[in-house]
Amino acid sequence: MSEPLVSLENVRFAYGERTILRDISLSIPRGKVVAIMGGSGCGKTTLLRLIGGQERAVGGRVLVDGQDVAKLGRDKLYAMRRRMGMLFQFGALFTDISVFDNVAFPLREHTDLPPELINDLVLMKLHAVGLRGAARLMPGELSGGMARRVALARTIALDPMLLMYDEPFTGLDPISLGVIGQLIRRLNDALGASSVIVTHDIQESLQIVDYIYFISEGRVVAEGTPEDIRKTSDPFVHQFVHAEADGPVPFHYPAGDYATALVGGPA
């Protein structure tokens, strides 16, 4: 119980020349829900990719259940991914099969369950996200928020040990948002799993998570439990909680001087 399920030790990552993550150390303890926050483009999705083994860190180590993800061979990596669920930022539903088949996909691929049982499991998962009635629709017939909820159902289909949600709350109305938030919490506790939520929704996160990390410019700049975060006077956190445009978290993607660019013509 002591050793965390996921831990990142001084992870550095770059896309080609551009360094995205400079020095990230964080851990996701077993049984906990951890939120990762940070400005748009600061590398949150990239962080999840590193944990899932889709990208490899340039420096440092990413440990999942004691194993260095970057050193795993193909088969071991796949074995590990079977116990992970990742909700993609844009859903990534398979557009050529129905909602039902999307949720059934991981079950059919990785288990030998009889069709009746798969049917029941899929309907249960869809019911949990409020979309049992949409089982026969095609992904193209869903709204953005519905598609994300179906993707959520697919993510949890195999009852994984590690759940990663990339912005699960975007595009949801306040009612679904609350329900999905609670669902993420309850699932985590019922499965004895661990969860990472990448999100911008600080108010919702403060309700459901156990720990929060703030990332900026490739580093963890603040962290703490929801109580710490509410009380803190840390400028980063303050800017986030109060949604201020000016502060330590830059709103702009790195660029040259604005006035020069306007006066001087094309850069």
């Binding site: 074995a79 991914r81 079977r82 993609f88 990534a92 398979f94 557009t95 996909f105 991981p106 691929e109």
Partner: protein, 260 residues
């Protein structure tokens, strides 16, 4: 001047890389092919999309090519007073060359482009990444079935193209112009050798099938994941397939039909 050499050099290096990627990709497809045969339903689905849905264009084009061959063939053979050989001429041109080549070109633009578009769009919408994250190899699940669907349908389509073409030639020659029906078929039967003509044509169409299917799945899988990237990949599929078919055809013809 130095710039030109630098460009040439970097182009050459890029091409070698590209070839390496394709070879590795081909190997992976073969490696995962076992899975696409154990899950036959997936492959049959692709066979339907690539093969069955291309039938109409293949049959219609085959018919027209046969009609034209009939007209031209009659006109030429008439000069030598050997219109009885019309069946032979139509059959040999179709079985040896036109069947595999024209069917291959049509197949690349009808089915190859569709496969590239489909895989490319799956890449754009992160479906391939999501699948990979679910511990299901996209090469086994998406690429290999489409590859085999193409490889199997191509020779069948080429055969149907040739059959339809011969029918077209017969229609023009025998029904409209009045060449002797018996001579048409018996000359063809006597002159067309199964191993030399038919089998070599089948070998060609199989090779074209592998080339087109590999190019189509590779371009889709390798595309830049944007709308523009997919559209470029589709264009590349059609162009590279056409070039590959024509180049392969020349090489294979020069080995198969030297007549020396």
């Amino acid at each position: 001047m130095g710039g030109v050499f630098r460009k040439l050099g970097s182009m050459a290096i890029d091409m070698v890389w590209q070839l390496g990627f394709i070879a590795r990709f081909f190997w992976l497809i073969l490696y995962y092919s076992g899975q696409s045969f154990t899950r036959l339903r997936l492959t049959i689905r692709e066979l339907y999309f690539s093969g069955v849905l291309s039938l109409l264009i293949i049959l219609v084009s085959g018919l027209f090519v046969g009609l034209v061959l009939g007209l031209q063939g009659y006109e030429i053979l008439q000069r030598y007073g050997s219109t009885d050989a019309m069946g032979t001429m139509v059959a040999l041109s179709l079985l040896r060359e036109l069947g595999p080549v024209v069917a291959g070109l049509l197949f690349a633009s009808r089915a190859g482009s569709a496969v590239t578009a489909e895989i490319g769009l799956m890449k754009v919408t992160e479906q391939l990444k999501a699948m990979d994250m679910m511990a299901v190899s996209p090469i086994a699940r998406v690429v290999a079935p489409r590859f085999w669907g193409g490889v199997v349908s191509m020779p069948l389509l080429a055969a149907m193209f040739s059959a339809m073409g011969i029918f077209g030639g017969w229609l023009i020659g025998v029904v409209f112009i009045g060449v002797d029906n018996g001579a048409f078929w018996s000359q063809m039967q006597a002159a067309v050798d199964f191993r030399y003509d038919v089998l070599n044509g089948v070998i060609k169409s199989c090779a074209f099938g592998v080339a087109v299917a590999l190019i189509a799945v590779f371009e889709g899988y390798d595309c830049v994941p944007t709308a523009e990237g997919v559209s470029r990949a589709i264009t590349r599929t059609v162009v590279s397939s056409a070039l590959a078919i024509l180049a392969l055809d020349f090489v294979m013809t020069s080995f198969m039909f030297r007549g020396l």
